[in-house]
Symmetry: C2
Subunit: 265 residues, 2 copies
């Protein structure tokens, strides 16, 4: 059992929570809590730590999953140091980062009507995680992000995905607008959510290949990116509202596409 | 100019940011930032504090609004102590809490098809603020909350509303389900978003008086509250998604109602 706050593994977990650089260097990220451990693909898990006081209960609940993995028990004090959350649930694991290939993400474009969400420079970790969560629920095939979008492996983002990060393929694009060509070549239309659009989002037909493009929380879409879209769409607003939260805008669009696809009228 | 961290006004602003009890005792809440100051109804504002280094710029930008108000300049160190934000914008004000009357909120029910959102025990300040923001945008007439819903006057909630808190009437109900009667008497139907509902949200007609009922982030709706709704509705989900973020679910429903009302088909 690890009882020293100076232990190398303890410091490593804390560094992986706090620093993107460290996460990228090691190719790992930190997952906390029972639900997120329970849903993590076993073959992605690199290491598991369990708090002393939670050990009996967690062994009982996750016997099958833990049997194929080795885990280490740590004192409650050490666990609190490793944990990023206010009320730790007693289990934390290091998980291997996934690297999806954009060509593979698009390979089914001929067989099905795909649905993507494209994010330019989204900065809020909670927004990004919530978008993953909603994308899975709306049946999206993936999330494609500009390089300056916040890190999906930030612990707050991971938590907000509620497990969708394990199941929704994603890609950080070095040259973001160039990806649009790859989509368009496969008959996936890019709809940019834009405050200056004249077409309301709900008059378009999303039953064919569709990708929604959402801009940064404070600045919206860059001119270059917006100009590469096939169509600009607006989400109408009443009152003095000037914009919507980025995760909310994403959800309204994703669910409009999903609604159209479910109701074949 | 206030330069002492021990000044009574400085401590008061910090206490109002941190404690609901103090906010309720004084009937005030804290608003930070230029945009939120600019949108605050002048007659609601009780006191204004401006950071020394931002004074010239803020006086220039808000001359008209500030001319009717008295303000106090504080040193930057003092402002940082008063502020709840990581990057303070140099202006902070104390604003009087509003108390809406539920009967007044409903008095137009005969003249127009109203739209409300009903929240049971929502706990996340960001979710609550985002729901206000979306409610305004979707043209909702108000937000009605159970007593144990998180405080709208929490600084994080206020920020997330992006100003909607000034414009969307709201009400905390001591006896939450009893409010449903008041709505139903006025032909406003209560639709409970429920994971066990058999009716999809998008087959109902929301062109008449409509209220959407949303439950707590972790536990959903209580049995008693759910049983008082007119109809349960579900938001379909693909993949292994088990639920949606509460602000996302609210947005999907509010925008479906708004979509139907805008498109008269």
């Amino acid at each position: 059992m690890i009882t020293s706050l100076q232990n190398r593994n303890v410091k490593e977990a804390a560094a992986l929570s706090a620093k993107k650089k460290e996460r990228d260097r090691q190719g790992l990220f930190v997952v906390e809590g029972k639900k997120m451990f329970g849903e993590a693909p076993a073959e992605w898990i690199s290491r598991v730590y369990i708090a002393e006081s939670a050990e009996a209960e967690i062994l009982e609940q996750y016997r099958a999953k833990l049997s194929g993995l080795s885990y280490e028990t740590v004192s409650d004090e050490v666990f609190a140091k490793m944990s990023d959350t206010v009320t730790p649930q007693g289990i934390l694991c290091l998980v291997r980062q996934q690297h999806y290939n954009i060509e593979e993400m698009l390979e089914n474009a001929n067989k099905k009507r795909m649905l993507f969400i494209l994010l330019e420079d989204i900065q809020d970790p909670g927004n990004l995680g919530t978008i993953f969560r909603t994308a899975e629920a709306a049946g999206a095939d993936g999330v494609i992000m500009s390089e300056r979008t916040t890190d999906i492996y930030n612990p707050k983002t991971i938590r907000s995905t509620m497990g969708a990060v394990y199941r929704v393929p994603f890609f950080y694009a070095e040259n973001f607008p160039s990806i649009f060509n790859k989509l368009q070549e496969r008959n996936i239309s890019v709809y940019a959510a834009h405050l200056k659009a004249e077409t309301a989002y709900d008059v378009c037909d999303y039953k064919k290949g569709t990708a929604f493009l959402i801009g940064n929380e404070a600045n919206g879409l860059s001119r270059e990116t917006a100009s590469c879209a096939d169509q600009w769409i607006s989400i109408p607003m009443e009152g003095r509202a000037e914009s919507l939260n980025a995760a909310v805008a994403s959800s309204i669009l994703l669910y409009e596409a999903y609604r159209q696809r479910r109701n074949r009228t």
